[in-house]
Symmetry: C2
Subunit: 187 residues, 2 copies
């Protein structure tokens, strides 16, 4: 994006929220296991989504939870996420890009979550979208490879159980690896 600019401008990283910054899966598993007195763990989900590893008659409820008011409000922050994003901001322009349009109930919850956990991200750098091909950035850190379709920068796949078998992208398993890639890896 900036190869012909003079002076060089900062490269831009767009960062997904769910399963990258916010641990939505932990909450989803907790809701499921408590509701059905089950004991599903991440280890059961290698290469699959939660709705794919539960009995067919539970799938509708599993989908339903994500649309309910409150689901996104108190999601735990992924380990090291806040510190690494703060460090990345020294060198890169950081935008948060989340497919919130799929869950209109989540707008305020996601906005408030960001304000609470990452108050150093200005409102100008938050994007609620659907199709992420609309994001103009050099990198997109996301757990869904489908979001890299049409994206004109480089997609960096953030490891989650459901994407365990996806290949074809640089991959980071956690925020320490994000730091290593962007700040120590010479990107």
């Amino acid at each position: 994006m900036n190869s012909d600019s003079n002076p060089p401008v900062r490269r831009r990283i767009a960062i997904d929220m769910d399963e990258v910054m916010a641990d939505a899966l932990s909450r989803h598993l907790d809701l499921y296991n408590r509701h059905y007195a089950a004991a599903v763990t991440r280890e059961h989900m290698h290469g699959k989504y939660l709705h794919e590893v539960v009995p067919a008659e539970h799938q509708e409820q599993v989908h339903q939870w994500v649309y309910e008011v409150g689901f996104f409000r108190d999601l735990p922050v992924m380990p090291d996420c806040v510190e690494v994003i703060r460090e990345l901001q020294q060198t890169y322009d950081i935008f948060i890009a989340t497919a919130a349009m799929q869950f209109p109930n989540s707008f305020t919850e996601k906005y408030d979550w960001l304000a609470r956990h990452l108050p150093f991200i200005p409102w100008t750098h938050i994007v609620f979208c659907g199709d992420k091909s609309v994001i103009a950035a050099d990198y997109l850190v996301d757990d869904h490879a489908k979001n890299f379709i049409g994206f004109r920068g480089e997609g960096i796949l953030f490891t989650a159980p459901h994407n365990a078998q996806v290949t074809g992208y640089r991959r980071v398993a956690n925020w320490r690896e994000v730091r290593a890639l962007f700040l120590e890896g010479g990107l």
Copy 2:
């Protein structure tokens, strides 16, 4: 954006909401004139914002209205907007890109407004953002030239009183001119 694609893909137009699709200024003027028993019109605002043409002691209230719950809910649709966007969709990919992050109270109001007036726009093609340089599109139709800074496509300025004296961009005065530019002008 697509010059090296084969087969050619559809060009993308991003469209701003306030003062382009939704007539926020009419509502703002109505609130002001009723509250202060005034008679400010668009004609008084050539090259200026509303807060610039009212007495200094009214400016804080003028700013305040935009942040209040309900401001965006029932804004009138600009003439011909719905029909022209529907026509543009035949030829272009249409994204709605609004700086909603500045007004967190507006999220649901803007989402519902779009669902009511333009139900043919899928949620995947709606973007709530701040800095519009994050939008990847070939064209951005917007009333604020500041939103063209850093935008990598062409900014098309939609005429509003406040931008009357802005130069340097192709300009459209209404939705019939948008139709002429994109569907009859050989863009």
